[in-house]
């Protein structure tokens, strides 16, 4: 999501968390750095991790759980993180002058998010949605990107 939105911080090196931190309770992930820089604290697992079956850091885990449950859908539908990234990605798409029309924007968005171009059905659905939303291009494209983030092809590697 961060890569698609352009919000990914590619800085390398440096500490993963503030030196001298007393406790991990209520630790908040402070940056958009790559996940290798994301500290794993037993008492402050990021919500994204909790929801999507990250291995419990208190447990020996020989095999990761794979679940598909409603809180994951709720996270993708309503958590601020996917929405914020979708909005940032929409701004980026609309600001890119090399993408002259909705078809070009959709090609770019699906390649960035799904690693492939859109199918003809997807093109019809998504560009149709943008047209139907009228002048509010920012919101319309944020919804399109949000839907791509919530799609099974984004969640599963085929």
């Amino acid at each position: 999501m961060l890569a698609a939105s352009g919000e990914l911080d590619l800085t390398t090196g440096g500490p993963t968390y503030k030196v001298g931190m007393g406790a991990d309770y209520n630790f908040a992930q402070p940056s958009n750095r790559r996940s290798v820089y994301l500290p794993v604290f037993r008492n402050a697992l990021p919500e994204l991790f909790q929801v999507f079956d990250f291995a419990d850091p208190s447990m020996v885990v020989g095999r990761r759980n794979v679940s598909t449950v409603a809180p994951q859908a709720l996270f993708l539908m309503n958590h601020p993180f996917p929405r914020e990234q979708a909005e940032a990605a929409a701004k980026r798409l609309l600001a890119d002058t090399s993408l002259g029309n909705d078809d070009a924007r959709l090609d770019f968005a699906t390649r960035a998010i799904l690693g492939r171009g859109p199918t003809s059905d997807e093109r019809t659905t998504l560009t149709g949605f943008v047209k139907a939303r009228g002048d509010d291009h920012d919101a319309a494209w944020a919804d399109v990107v949000h839907a791509l983030f919530a799609s099974t092809d984004f969640r599963y590697v085929n």
Binding site: S67, M77, T125, F129, A139, A147, Y156
Partner: protein
């Protein structure tokens, strides 16, 4: 829509859930119908819903439990376990096996200074039960309560004792009690989570206290708000988008509809993939939770007299009152297991008065009326007939002082009470010694309490097992005895 819901044994489902959803051109609002189609498909042999209702092992005495968790360790010697000796010997040194010192150094029989209860005791109700003035509202219900005075547990510190209370283990990661119950019984309401933890603490095990551990994730508890949070925070996580308006906005509906349509298109290219079908299920349930949960949690629908009963709208009872009322609304809607935590996220949770016992009065003032109101409300609505209410902390507190004005943790003897379905009203079971320090008569280990609570729900704690890492596991490990003496 009717063409895809007609699934009979003579007419196996030629249409998958996915195509059903595609056909549901009317959109997300019709997903409930699509869910019904899915249920028929399940009857026709598709994957079973892990949350489907299951038969208990034997006839249950209760259908659901509300657990009122007093985080930090409420003092039994200052509330419900009356020990006249503490008044007589106030200030004197007496040898005790101080659990903390035993754990740290193995030293036993250390001299500790007795501290008398800070609240005076008197007799109440027809049963003439002794109770202090700490919980005046609860005292009006003493004839309904079933006290266990001889509880003892594992863990001297909050972390292990809290985990033991919730999961039956101090250090290994084990499923929480609510998860075991949901696994054993399934849910009565498809539109709501079956196990809800209201205002859980992030500390002392945090999410593990309502976690599923190795049980399938469908059995994990759903958190509503967090410990110490404001009343506005009391929503199902990430179902918040609709909480303010109580209904989805047109923009949200359009967005969800787009998500549904895109998923349907992507799924159509891999027909019959169970994993992918599960994604559709998860969106269906998410949508139903989104549409139903805010209504269930919306206490504004309640009458003023009900709000007053719980102390809602008044300090200091407003927050816990709202949480207790939500618990009633949730069990009324068929939620199996609801926990309402009075706690916070600190290393010294609310009731943890190591140095300032008078602070107990502030906490008592916050929970006393809401809890009494909950009991009254449940009884008035007939819900106490099939709902069990359970009250207590991860341990009690010592009869001797710590640092002059506080009390330390006491896992060796403390009090919990139960009320409602399946347990004897106006009853006391077990006893601690003359000081309220150690359980000595009819001892009830936390494993025994777990076994007994499962029994009340119709579950045999020895048969409620799950195979993981090559062997069967259960909530009570290899321990636990059902305490039939307290049951009706």
């Amino acid at each position: 829509l009717s063409h895809f819901v007609q699934v009979t044994p003579m007419n196996p489902p030629a249409i998958t859930r996915r195509s059903a959803l595609q056909a549901a051109a009317c959109g997300f609002g019709y997903l409930a119908l699509a869910g019904l189609a899915g249920r028929n498909a399940a009857l026709a042999g598709a994957a079973a819903n892990p949350l489907a209702m299951k038969l208990p092992h034997f006839a249950p005495r209760a259908k659901r439990i509300i657990f009122l968790f007093m985080q930090g360790g409420v003092s039994h010697v200052d509330s419900f376990d009356y020990k006249p000796e503490l008044f007589r010997l106030d200030g004197q040194s007496v040898p005790f096996d101080n659990a903390r010192k035993v754990a740290n150094s193995g030293q036993r029989g250390t001299a500790e200074r007795i501290m008398k209860p800070l609240w005076n005791f008197s007799q109440h109700g027809e049963t003439g039960r002794w109770a202090s003035t700490l919980f005046p509202e609860m005292n009006k219900h003493l004839d309904e309560l079933c006290f266990i005075h001889s509880l003892h547990t594992e863990g001297v510190a909050h972390g292990p004792a809290t985990l033991f209370l919730h999961t039956g283990a101090t250090q290994f990661v084990r499923p929480s009690m609510g998860s075991w119950i949901l696994y054993g019984l399934g849910t009565e309401n498809d539109n709501l989570p079956g196990f809800v933890s209201i205002a859980p603490s992030a500390g002392n095990g945090g999410a593990r206290n309502y976690g599923n551990a190795f049980l399938p994730p469908a059995y994990q508890g759903t958190a509503i708000g967090k410990a110490g949070g404001p009343a506005s925070d009391l929503v199902i996580r990430n179902a918040t988008a609709s909480a303010a308006s109580k209904l989805a906005t047109p923009e949200q509906r359009k967005r969800f509809e787009l998500m549904r349509q895109l998923n349907a298109e992507q799924l159509s290219r891999t027909p019959g993939d169970a994993e992918i079908e599960a994604v559709i299920d998860s969106y269906e349930l998410a949508w139903r939770m989104q549409m139903n949960a805010p209504g269930v949690l919306d206490i504004d629908q309640e009458s003023k007299s009900t709000l007053d009963l719980y102390g809602i709208g008044h300090e200091p009872t407003d927050v816990y009152g709202r949480q207790c009322l939500m618990a009633r609304r949730l069990v009324e809607s068929g939620v199996r297991y609801v926990q309402v935590t009075y706690g916070d996220n600190s290393a010294n949770p609310r009731w943890d008065q190591h140095s300032n016992m008078p602070k107990h009065a502030d906490h008592a003032a916050s929970v006393d009326k809401p809890i009494a109101g909950l009991l009254t409300d449940l009884r008035q609505r007939g819900l106490l007939e099939d709902t069990l209410v359970w009250w207590g902390g991860e341990f009690g507190r010592t009869p001797y002082s710590q640092g002059g004005s506080g009390r330390d943790h006491n896992p060796t003897g403390f009090t919990h009470w139960l009320a409602g379905a399946g347990v004897k009203p106006g009853f006391s079971f077990g006893a601690t010694d003359d000081f309220g320090h150690t359980a000595v008569r009819d001892k009830v280990h936390m494993h025994d309490l777990h076994a007994t609570l499962l029994h009340v729900l119709g579950l045999d704690h020895e048969r409620l097992t799950y195979r993981y890492a090559g062997r069967n596991f259960r909530l009570t490990d290899v321990f636990g005895n059902v305490k039939r003496e307290i049951l009706t």
